[in-house]
């Protein structure tokens, strides 16, 4: 399937350039990809970022640390809880605050629910990119259950701003545990439907197996993390390697692939949803009693110095680097977003494949564009 696209002399006049985006349904946002084609084969691909750049890192420099949290929601809006978590962990680490056990349990559960919700939406969008519109409806329908549980406890469905440095905005709602347990019971049945309708589908398998191969070495070179990196066999799960929350107290597998093609990346996320449900089941009945927030000062001032904290978001390793000069707002804040690194590998992955495969490949990398541009 893969064609040799490196003839000794590259004839530029024979190449044909096509713009995909910024307004294209299968780039899932305002990402512009300029593809150079020879016939139907992609010879190179240039991503053009910046259409949704809002300067979040610069805005953080004038905000106090509690105010930064609501901006991180808006980077990778499909894993908002996890984005909040990384800033909270950093502030708690810098101030050496002990967070109550209850908060850590709730945060871990919320993070895993976010991961499931994000993968459900991704599954729907991926199915729709491949031409199966039913998938989107099913993915959205099941995601709704999680969003309802979020709405009851956090007050909003997408941009929660639920974590604060030292704890949570509010305690979980009394119905939360029941809702989550109901959801897991429900979704264990429904994920079987997902497999019937898309995973086993012969058209989908033919279009994804052996397409868009990323080897382990290349994944490490490009800094590709998350399910995309793990599909290539790169063991990069931050939850296992640098545990935070209560991940060191729950048993779960790090799911690793071998081939690194589009189908493997698809399977990683399908298996991760099951693994996330296992994590939640271990925690949901054992939430210890206690406060939902630690005692924090009214104005948080980080001691002067440099700090780094990483978490595993639904798309890969999310890091935040802060330089503090001892004031109430950071001197410099930098987010290492997973999507930006994953995007850098796209050019390499899709070379030599057809333009129709490009949509499947970019779908399997699971881009959230506001996270790329920030």
């Amino acid at each position: 399937m893969k064609e040799d696209i490196n003839p000794p002399v590259r004839n530029i006049e024979e190449e044909y350039h096509i713009n995909i985006g910024p307004q294209h349904p299968s780039t899932h946002g305002v990402l512009r990809l300029v593809a150079s084609l020879k016939g139907e084969t992609v010879t190179s691909l240039k991503p053009h970022c910046g259409y949704i750049h809002r300067g979040i890192e610069k805005m953080c420099e004038k905000d106090t640390y509690p105010q930064v949290i609501h901006l991180t929601d808006r980077m990778d809006y499909l894993s908002a809880h996890i984005n909040n978590h990384v800033v909270c962990l950093l502030v708690e680490k810098a101030l050496e605050v002990d967070v109550p056990e209850r908060v850590q349990y709730i945060r871990t559960i919320m993070d895993e629910l976010t991961r499931i919700a994000s993968h459900q939406l991704w599954w729907g969008c991926f199915g729709m990119d491949m031409g199966g519109q039913t998938c989107l409806l099913y993915g959205m329908r099941d995601r709704e259950k999680i969003l309802d549980a979020f709405e009851e406890s956090c007050g909003s469905r997408l941009l929660h701003s639920y974590y604060t440095p030292g704890g949570l905005m509010k305690d979980i709602h009394p119905n939360f545990q029941k809702k989550v347990k109901d959801f897991i019971k429900y979704f264990r049945k429904k994920i079987h439907d997902y497999d019937c309708i898309l995973t086993g589908n012969v058209i989908m398998q033919e279009r994804t197996k052996g397409v868009g191969i990323l080897t382990k070495e290349e994944a490490i070179d490009y800094g590709v993390t998350g399910p995309t990196g793990r599909a290539s066999g790169f063991s990069c799960d931050v939850r296992k390697r640098y545990p935070y929350g209560v991940y060191d107290r729950v048993g779960f597998k790090e799911i690793l692939g071998t081939k690194g093609d589009t189908f493997e990346r698809y399977m990683m996320r399908m298996l991760e949803m099951r693994e996330s449900m296992n994590i939640i089941e271990q925690l949901i009945d054992n939430i210890p009693a206690g406060d939902y927030t630690a005692k924090m000062k009214a104005v948080l001032k980080l001691p002067a110095g440099e700090y780094y904290q990483r978490v595993e978001s639904a798309r890969g390793e999310l890091g935040v680097y802060v330089v503090s000069d001892g004031n109430k707002s950071p001197y410099r804040m930098k987010f290492r977003s997973p999507n930006f690194s994953n995007l850098s590998a796209l050019d390499h992955i899709c070379r030599g494949f057809k333009i129709a495969d490009l949509i499947a490949i970019s779908g399997s990398l699971d881009f959230v564009i506001p996270d790329i541009d920030r």
């Binding site: 905000d63 106090t64 509690p66 105010q67 949290i69 609501h70 901006l71 039913t134 329908r141 709704e144 709405e151 009851e152 406890s153 956090c154 007050g155 909003s156 941009l159 701003s161 604060t164 905005m169 509010k170 709602h173 439907d193 019937c196 309708i197 898309l198 086993g200 589908n201 012969v202 058209i203 398998q205």
Partner: protein, 160 residues
Amino acid sequence: MKSFFKYFTGIFYGVKSLLSGLSVTGKYFFSPGAIVTQQYPENRKKLEMFDRFKGEVVMPHDEKNHHRCTGCGICGNSCPNGSIEIIQDKIDTPDGKKERIIGKHIYHLSMCTFCGLCIKSCPSNALAWGQEFEHAVFDRSKLTKILNKPGSSISKDIAE
């Protein structure tokens, strides 16, 4: 012969996989009870939001038109977007002193990102989340709201 056999098993498994997908969609086609779509504009009279739902910031008033806001301005300082403005008034108290009270608590809904920091930071619990969510208006100026009602005053247990 081998490729011939492979060709036909491929077709067989392909058709089988398509049928298993069709069986899922067919199941929903014949059981309309499993459809979960909300008929939103029609059901808005019955629609109830969760009690923690973040619709807009409101200032609850009791039946005597008393609120709990002292006009200290902490909510405005903790807001990341500057969507809260406080205009203070000075009044003469009966014992001849001058006292600052809230004049206008201006809330720009158009700038609000619903982070909830104002409500969390308020020392006298004067602010709360409202359940209203249909915010579309024809004029942008309608999104600037004055939260303390005209003629209202501070509740006595806060003032003391």
